[in-house]
C-alpha cells in the first residue's frame, strides 16, 4: 500500500568550532545519528526546542548543508554520494518551504518571478510556464491579479502561500516544511495548515514538517520524531506519542504546552535547568541533567534508539 520514499540513516552533521590556536580542534554535533523513514503521502513531524538540530536535519536532506556522514536514500539511491550536478535532478523532487516568507523571497522580484524560478531552474519549456504558474496560484488560493505584485505588498499568510506555491510548482514528491506557520497568527495559521493538507491530498505530497509547536505537529503529522540536542530521542506514530509518550523529555515537552481548555486537568512536569549548549553536551544520556529518572547508567552511557513495542525510543528506562 504505502511505499518507502525516503530513508535517512545515521545522519550526522558536525560544525567545527572556532578555537584558539593551540587548542585541539573541537566540533559541535548539530545532528547526531538521526534515522527517519518517510512513506509516500505521509507527513512526519520533527519537533524539538531551539538548537536541537531539527532545521539542520531538514537542510541536510536537501544537501543545503552537506552532511558529515550518514545515508539519505531517495528512490533507492543514496543522494549523499552523488555529485552536485546530479543532485539537481533530485532537487526537483524535494522542495522546501521556509519559516520566514519575507526573508526567503527576494524583495525585488514579483510574485510571478518568484514562483516561476523553479521552472526556469529546471528548464521547463517557456510555453508551459504560464499554465503551470496559473494552476499553482489557484492551488494555493491566490488570484492571478496578484502576479505582478511584490512580496512586501502581501500579508504574512499570503506570503506563506507564495512560499508554498514556489515549492510545489515543480510538483515535487517531498516538501520539507521548516516552521512554516510559526510566524503566523493563529487564525491565519489554521488556513495554511488546511491548505497544506489539501495540497497533500491533491498532489500526493509527502511532508517533513519541522516545528517547535507540538500542537501544530499533533494536528498535521502521521508520525513524529522528537529531537533533543542533535539526537532523535523518540520516534512513533502520532497517536501513540501524544497519548502515551515514553521518553521523559517527550513527556515534559507535551506537558509544557499551555492548553486553552480550562477544565483539562493535567500533570505538569516542569523541567529543571536550561538546555545545555550543543557545543558542550553532557556525557552519557544528553538529557540526564534535567531528567527526573536519571540514574548512574544515564550519566555514563548514551542510550541508543531501540524498538519498543513497534516504536522507537532512546532511553535506558526501556532497555534491558
Amino acid at each position: 500500500m504505502t511505499s518507502k520514499l525516503l530513508e535517512v540513516k545515521g545522519l550526522h552533521k558536525s560544525f567545527p568550532l572556532k578555537n584558539s590556536l593551540f587548542q585541539q580542534k573541537r566540533f559541535v554535533h548539530a545532528v547526531n545519528g538521526v534515522t527517519l523513514e518517510l512513506n509516500e503521502g505521509e507527513t512526519i513531524g520533527i519537533v524539538g526546542e531551539s538548537g536541537c538540530g531539527k532545521s539542520t536535519t531538514g537542510r541536510c536532506i536537501l544537501r543545503l548543508i552537506e552532511p558529515t556522514s550518514g545515508e539519505i536514500i531517495f528512490q533507492g539511491k543514496d543522494i549523499t554520494k552523488i555529485r552536485k550536478q546530479e543532485m539537481k535532478r533530485f532537487r526537483r523532487d524535494i522542495q522546501m518551504v521556509f519559516q520566514n516568507p519575507m526573508d526567503s523571497m527576494n524583495p525585488k522580484l514579483t510574485v510571478a518571478e518568484i514562483i516561476t524560478e523553479p521552472l526556469i531552474a529546471h528548464s521547463i519549456p517557456k510555453e508551459h510556464r504560464y499554465r503551470i504558474l496559473k494552476e499553482t496560484m489557484e492551488l494555493v488560493g491566490l488570484s492571478e491579479s496578484q502576479l505582478n505584485r511584490y512580496p512586501h505588498e502581501f500579508s504574512g499568510g499570503q506570503r506563506q502561500r507564495i512560499g508554498i506555491a514556489r515549492a510545489i510548482t515543480l510538483r515535487p514528491k517531498i516538501v520539507i516544511l521548516d516552521e512554516p506557520v510559526s510566524a503566523l497568527d493563529v487564525s491565519v495559521q489554521s488556513q495554511i495548515l488546511n491548505l497544506l493538507q489539501d495540497l497533500q491530498e491533491e498532489l500526493g505530497l509527502s511532508y517533513i514538517f519541522i516545528s517547535h509547536d507540538l500542537g501544530v505537529v499533533e494536528h498535521i503529522a502521521h508520525k513524529v520524531g522528537v529531537m533533543y540536542l542533535g539526537e532523535l530521542v523518540e520516534f512513533a506514530d502520532k497517536d501513540q506519542l501524544f497519548t502515551e509518550p515514553l521518553h521523559p523529555y517527550t513527556k515534559a515537552l507535551i506537558s509544557a504546552i499551555p492548553k486553552s481548555d480550562p477544565d483539562e486537568v493535567k500533570e505538569r512536569i516542569i523541567l529543571q535547568g536550561e538546555l545545555p549548549s550543543p557545543a558542550n553536551p553532557p556525557a552519557g544520556c544528553k538529557f540526564h541533567p534535567r531528567c527526573a529518572h536519571a540514574n548512574e547508567t544515564c550519566m555514563s552511557l548514551n542510550p541508543i534508539l531501540t524498538d519498543v513495542n513497534g516504536r522507537k525510543v532512546a532511553c535506558h528506562l526501556y532497555q534491558e
Binding site: S155, V188, S190, G215, L253, D261, R268, E274
Partner: protein, 327 residues
C-alpha cells in the same frame, strides 16, 4: 477602591503619511487587585500599543487622543512626565518579549538591577548588592552572586527573561505589565517562566496584565480575559466563561482555529481573510468581513460593547439587543 487599574475609553492614534490612524479605539477594561488580567489578540490588534499607552511609553509618532487611565483612582494621563518616571518601575513595571533589547549590553546584570533600586529607594550600596542577589535568587537564577558580575550576552534567553523579571519586581510594583513575556522562549522554558510569574504574583500580591497571542498561556495564567480585534475590545469575561462559552464570533473562531482543538477532525476551523489594517476600518463592525454570522446591520453600523449579566461584555450585534446598557 475595587480596581487597581481602570482604563476608560483609551484612544491612541499614530501619525502616518496618510493621516492619523486610530490604532487603539475606545478601549475599556480594568484590573483588580491581585488578579491576572489577560489581553489576547493577533498581531496588529493594538494590544501592545494599549500597554505602552498605560505607561505613556509611546514613541513620537503615537499620541493618546482620549480616555482615562485610572491607577489607584488617579488619572495617569494628567501626570507630568517627571511624575510618570517615578510611577514607572516603582508602581507599574513592564517586561517585554525580547529581553535582549531591553538589557544594556555593556553593564553587568547586577549593576543594571542595582541602578533601579538606587533610583527609587535610597539604600546604602552594600545593602543594595545584598538585595539584588536575593532578588536574583527569588527569580530562580542559580549561582546568583556569579551572575551578578556577568554581562547579558552570557545568559540564555530564559535567564535573560528571569533577569528582566527581577528588574521589574525590584521595587515591589503593584502592577506588572508583561507583553508577550514567553513568546521568544522554548516551551519547556516558557513553562518555567509562567510558573515563576504565578508564584511571584502570590508572594508579592501584585496584579499582572498579561499581553499575549497565545490562548493556552492565558488559559493557564489569567483570571479574566480581554479579547481585542482591530483596535477594539470585542469581548471580556472570566477565563472559564470566555474559553468555554465564547460569545463573539471572533473569539469563537480564535479558539476553534487552534490545532489541538481539531479533536481528530482533519480540517481545522479557520477564520477566512485577514485582520484589516487601521486605514481600512469601515463604519461597520470591523470583523464583519470575516464573520460567519454576518447580518445586514454589521456592515453599516459598528456594534457597541454591551454588558452581559454584569460580568462579561461583548461587542457584537448578535447580543446588543439583549441589554441596551453600554459600558
Amino acid at each position: 477602591m475595587e480596581y487597581l487599574l481602570e482604563v476608560k475609553g483609551l484612544t491612541t492614534q499614530f501619525n502616518s503619511k496618510k493621516g492619523p490612524l486610530t490604532v487603539v479605539d475606545h478601549v475599556d477594561f480594568n484590573v483588580k487587585k491581585g488578579e491576572v488580567m489577560g489581553i489576547v489578540g493577533e498581531s496588529g490588534c493594538g494590544k501592545s500599543v494599549t500597554s505602552l499607552s498605560i505607561l505613556q511609553l509611546l514613541d513620537k509618532a503615537g499620541e493618546i487622543k482620549d480616555g482615562q487611565i485610572l491607577f489607584k483612582n488617579i488619572n495617569l494621563l494628567k501626570k507630568k512626565e517627571k511624575e510618570m518616571r517615578i510611577i514607572r518601575g516603582k508602581e507599574i513595571s513592564m517586561i517585554f518579549q525580547d529581553p535582549m533589547s531591553s538589557l544594556n549590553p555593556v553593564l553587568t546584570i547586577g549593576r543594571q538591577i542595582a541602578e533601579i533600586m538606587e533610583k527609587h529607594e535610597k539604600l546604602p550600596k552594600p545593602m543594595v548588592k545584598k538585595k539584588v542577589i536575593s532578588l536574583l535568587n527569588t527569580v530562580g537564577i542559580p549561582r546568583a552572586s556569579e551572575i551578578y558580575e556577568e554581562y547579558p550576552h552570557r545568559l540564555s534567553g530564559g535567564m535573560k527573561q528571569r533577569v528582566m523579571i527581577a528588574m521589574a519586581i525590584a521595587c515591589n510594583p503593584s502592577l506588572l505589565i508583561a507583553d508577550e513575556p514567553t513568546t521568544a522562549l522554548d516551551v519547556t522554558i516558557q513553562a518555567q517562566i509562567l510558573e515563576l510569574l504565578r508564584s511571584l504574583k502570590d508572594e508579592l500580591g501584585m496584579s499582572i496584565l498579561l499581553i499575549t497571542h497565545d490562548l493556552g498561556v492565558v488559559a493557564e495564567m489569567c483570571d479574566r480575559i480581554v479579547v481585542m480585534y482591530a483596535g477594539q475590545v470585542v469581548e471580556t469575561a472570566d477565563t472559564r466563561t470566555l474559553l468555554r462559552h465564547p460569545k463573539h464570533p471572533y473569539t469563537n473562531g480564535l479558539i476553534q482555529s487552534q490545532p489541538h482543538q481539531s479533536k481528530g477532525e482533519r480540517r481545522l476551523k479557520s477564520i477566512p481573510g485577514q485582520v484589516p489594517t487601521p486605514d481600512k476600518f469601515g463604519a461597520g463592525c470591523r470583523f464583519a468581513e470575516r464573520c460567519e454570522n454576518v447580518m445586514e446591520i454589521c456592515s453599516s453600523a459598528s456594534p457597541p460593547l454591551v454588558s452581559i449579566d454584569g460580568q462579561s461584555s461583548c461587542r457584537c450585534w448578535l447580543y446588543s439587543d439583549k441589554e441596551e446598557m453600554t459600558i
